[in-house]
Protein backbone atom coordinates (compact mmCIF):
# COMPACT_ATOMS: atom_id res chain seq x y z
CA UNK A 1 0.00 0.00 0.00
CA UNK A 2 2.94 2.29 0.77
CA UNK A 3 6.57 2.42 -0.43
CA UNK A 4 8.15 2.60 -3.88
CA UNK A 5 6.26 -0.36 -5.41
CA UNK A 6 2.77 0.57 -4.33
CA UNK A 7 -0.08 -0.08 -6.74
CA UNK A 8 -1.19 3.23 -8.17
CA UNK A 9 -3.21 3.71 -11.30
CA UNK A 10 -0.28 5.07 -13.41
CA UNK A 11 1.94 2.13 -12.37
CA UNK A 12 -0.60 -0.61 -12.94
CA UNK A 13 -2.35 0.75 -15.99
CA UNK A 14 0.46 2.07 -18.19
CA UNK A 15 -0.20 5.44 -19.76
CA UNK A 16 -2.37 7.66 -17.59
CA UNK A 17 -2.41 11.41 -17.93
CA UNK A 18 -4.35 13.33 -15.39
CA UNK A 19 -5.88 16.66 -16.21
CA UNK A 20 -6.87 19.03 -13.41
CA UNK A 21 -10.59 19.78 -13.48
CA UNK A 22 -10.06 23.56 -13.60
CA UNK A 23 -7.56 25.89 -15.23
CA UNK A 24 -4.81 27.57 -13.22
CA UNK A 25 -4.85 31.36 -13.19
CA UNK A 26 -1.78 31.40 -15.44
CA UNK A 27 -3.51 29.15 -17.96
CA UNK A 28 -6.49 31.50 -17.83
CA UNK A 29 -4.20 34.47 -18.39
CA UNK A 30 -2.55 32.89 -21.43
CA UNK A 31 -5.97 31.84 -22.73
CA UNK A 32 -7.19 35.46 -22.53
CA UNK A 33 -4.04 36.57 -24.38
CA UNK A 34 -4.78 34.09 -27.15
CA UNK A 35 -8.39 35.27 -27.40
CA UNK A 36 -7.21 38.88 -27.64
CA UNK A 37 -4.65 37.93 -30.29
CA UNK A 38 -7.45 36.51 -32.47
CA UNK A 39 -9.53 39.67 -31.85
CA UNK A 40 -6.58 41.78 -33.01
CA UNK A 41 -6.27 39.77 -36.22
CA UNK A 42 -9.98 40.18 -36.91
CA UNK A 43 -9.76 43.96 -36.48
CA UNK A 44 -6.61 44.11 -38.64
CA UNK A 45 -8.36 42.23 -41.45
CA UNK A 46 -11.48 44.33 -41.09
CA UNK A 47 -9.61 47.64 -41.20
CA UNK A 48 -7.38 46.61 -44.09
CA UNK A 49 -10.34 45.48 -46.22
CA UNK A 50 -12.54 48.42 -45.21
CA UNK A 51 -9.89 50.85 -46.52
CA UNK A 52 -10.53 49.41 -50.00
CA UNK A 53 -14.28 49.19 -49.46
CA UNK A 54 -14.18 45.40 -49.37
CA UNK A 55 -15.19 42.70 -46.95
CA UNK A 56 -15.56 38.96 -46.91
CA UNK A 57 -18.35 36.71 -45.73
CA UNK A 58 -16.32 34.78 -43.17
CA UNK A 59 -15.30 38.04 -41.53
CA UNK A 60 -18.83 39.42 -41.47
CA UNK A 61 -20.24 36.22 -39.98
CA UNK A 62 -17.52 36.22 -37.31
CA UNK A 63 -18.21 39.84 -36.37
CA UNK A 64 -21.95 39.19 -36.16
CA UNK A 65 -21.78 35.94 -34.15
CA UNK A 66 -18.64 35.95 -32.08
CA UNK A 67 -18.17 38.04 -28.93
CA UNK A 68 -14.78 39.67 -28.35
CA UNK A 69 -12.66 38.71 -25.37
CA UNK A 70 -13.96 41.69 -23.37
CA UNK A 71 -17.59 40.87 -24.16
CA UNK A 72 -17.32 37.21 -23.22
CA UNK A 73 -18.55 35.96 -19.86
CA UNK A 74 -15.96 34.16 -17.69
CA UNK A 75 -18.28 31.16 -17.90
CA UNK A 76 -17.89 30.99 -21.69
CA UNK A 77 -14.21 31.89 -21.61
CA UNK A 78 -13.07 29.11 -19.33
CA UNK A 79 -15.72 26.41 -19.67
CA UNK A 80 -17.51 24.63 -22.48
CA UNK A 81 -20.86 22.90 -22.78
CA UNK A 82 -20.83 19.13 -22.50
CA UNK A 83 -24.08 17.15 -22.30
CA UNK A 84 -22.39 14.23 -20.52
CA UNK A 85 -21.09 16.25 -17.58
CA UNK A 86 -23.02 17.02 -14.42
CA UNK A 87 -24.41 20.57 -14.71
CA UNK A 88 -23.42 20.53 -18.41
CA UNK A 89 -20.09 22.37 -18.14
CA UNK A 90 -16.46 21.26 -18.24
CA UNK A 91 -13.17 23.16 -18.36
CA UNK A 92 -12.22 24.42 -21.81
CA UNK A 93 -8.82 22.72 -21.43
CA UNK A 94 -10.61 19.38 -21.82
CA UNK A 95 -11.27 20.29 -25.46
CA UNK A 96 -8.61 18.69 -27.69
CA UNK A 97 -6.24 21.29 -29.26
CA UNK A 98 -7.96 23.97 -27.18
CA UNK A 99 -5.06 26.46 -27.51
CA UNK A 100 -5.38 26.46 -31.30
CA UNK A 101 -9.16 26.62 -31.64
CA UNK A 102 -11.75 29.34 -31.37
CA UNK A 103 -14.42 28.05 -29.00
CA UNK A 104 -16.44 31.08 -27.90
CA UNK A 105 -20.16 30.35 -28.01
CA UNK A 106 -22.20 27.67 -26.30
CA UNK A 107 -25.80 26.46 -26.74
CA UNK A 108 -28.27 29.10 -25.50
CA UNK A 109 -29.66 28.32 -22.08
CA UNK A 110 -26.63 26.29 -20.99
Amino acid sequence: MFGPFRLTSPLSGGLLWKMPWRLSRHQKYRHRERLRRVDDIISTLDMALAKQGLSTKKLEVWKKDMPTEAEMLPRDKYTIFDRKVKRYRKGIHKLPKWTRLSQRINPPGF
Binding site: A48, L59, R100
Partner: protein
Amino acid sequence: MAYFRITLMRSAIGLPAQRKGVLAALGLRKRMATVYHPVTPDVAGQIMAVKELLDVAEVETALTKAQMKEQRRPERGYVVERRAGAVLE
Protein backbone atom coordinates in the same frame (compact mmCIF):
# COMPACT_ATOMS: atom_id res chain seq x y z
CA MET B 1 -0.48 48.78 -52.58
CA ALA B 2 -1.23 47.32 -49.16
CA TYR B 3 -0.06 43.89 -48.06
CA PHE B 4 -0.71 41.53 -45.21
CA ARG B 5 2.46 40.53 -43.40
CA ILE B 6 1.66 37.02 -42.18
CA THR B 7 3.84 35.12 -39.71
CA LEU B 8 3.20 31.55 -38.59
CA MET B 9 3.39 31.64 -34.78
CA ARG B 10 1.89 28.27 -33.87
CA SER B 11 2.52 25.01 -35.69
CA ALA B 12 -0.34 23.10 -37.32
CA ILE B 13 0.91 19.72 -36.07
CA GLY B 14 -2.06 17.52 -35.27
CA LEU B 15 -4.59 19.85 -36.86
CA PRO B 16 -6.88 18.79 -39.74
CA ALA B 17 -5.31 18.45 -43.20
CA GLN B 18 -7.64 21.20 -44.43
CA ARG B 19 -5.93 23.76 -42.22
CA LYS B 20 -2.45 22.50 -43.08
CA GLY B 21 -3.42 22.92 -46.72
CA VAL B 22 -4.37 26.56 -46.12
CA LEU B 23 -0.93 27.18 -44.59
CA ALA B 24 0.73 25.52 -47.57
CA ALA B 25 -1.34 27.69 -49.90
CA LEU B 26 -0.21 30.79 -48.03
CA GLY B 27 3.40 29.60 -48.40
CA LEU B 28 4.00 29.03 -44.68
CA ARG B 29 6.11 25.92 -44.18
CA LYS B 30 7.50 26.32 -40.68
CA ARG B 31 7.02 28.36 -37.55
CA MET B 32 8.18 32.00 -37.59
CA ALA B 33 8.14 32.03 -41.39
CA THR B 34 6.88 35.34 -42.80
CA VAL B 35 5.11 35.90 -46.12
CA TYR B 36 3.49 38.92 -47.74
CA HIS B 37 0.20 38.76 -49.59
CA PRO B 38 -1.87 41.59 -51.10
CA VAL B 39 -4.93 42.79 -49.19
CA THR B 40 -7.78 40.98 -50.94
CA PRO B 41 -10.91 39.21 -49.66
CA ASP B 42 -9.43 35.87 -50.82
CA VAL B 43 -6.34 36.24 -48.67
CA ALA B 44 -8.46 37.52 -45.77
CA GLY B 45 -10.56 34.35 -46.02
CA GLN B 46 -7.42 32.21 -45.92
CA ILE B 47 -6.20 34.08 -42.86
CA MET B 48 -9.59 33.60 -41.21
CA ALA B 49 -9.27 29.84 -41.68
CA VAL B 50 -6.04 29.65 -39.67
CA LYS B 51 -6.19 32.86 -37.60
CA GLU B 52 -5.34 31.09 -34.32
CA LEU B 53 -1.90 30.18 -35.68
CA LEU B 54 -0.87 33.48 -37.25
CA ASP B 55 0.32 36.97 -36.56
CA VAL B 56 -1.03 39.44 -39.11
CA ALA B 57 -0.23 43.09 -39.81
CA GLU B 58 -1.09 45.41 -42.66
CA VAL B 59 1.99 46.97 -44.30
CA GLU B 60 2.51 49.28 -47.26
CA THR B 61 5.25 47.37 -49.07
CA ALA B 62 6.13 43.69 -49.33
CA LEU B 63 9.68 42.72 -48.44
CA THR B 64 11.64 40.08 -50.31
CA LYS B 65 13.40 37.25 -48.48
CA ALA B 66 16.75 39.00 -48.91
CA GLN B 67 15.39 42.25 -47.44
CA MET B 68 13.96 40.42 -44.43
CA LYS B 69 17.32 38.76 -43.85
CA GLU B 70 19.05 42.13 -44.11
CA GLN B 71 16.74 43.50 -41.40
CA ARG B 72 17.79 40.73 -39.04
CA ARG B 73 21.52 41.30 -39.62
CA PRO B 74 23.19 43.05 -36.68
CA GLU B 75 25.23 46.25 -37.16
CA ARG B 76 28.79 45.66 -38.29
CA GLY B 77 31.75 46.56 -36.06
CA TYR B 78 31.59 47.63 -32.43
CA VAL B 79 30.91 50.67 -30.28
CA VAL B 80 33.31 51.95 -27.58
CA GLU B 81 31.18 52.57 -24.48
CA ARG B 82 34.01 54.05 -22.34
CA ARG B 83 37.78 54.00 -22.32
CA ALA B 84 39.93 52.43 -19.61
CA GLY B 85 41.90 55.69 -19.08
CA ALA B 86 38.75 57.67 -18.27
CA VAL B 87 37.76 55.17 -15.57
CA LEU B 88 41.22 55.32 -13.87
CA GLU B 89 41.34 59.13 -13.64
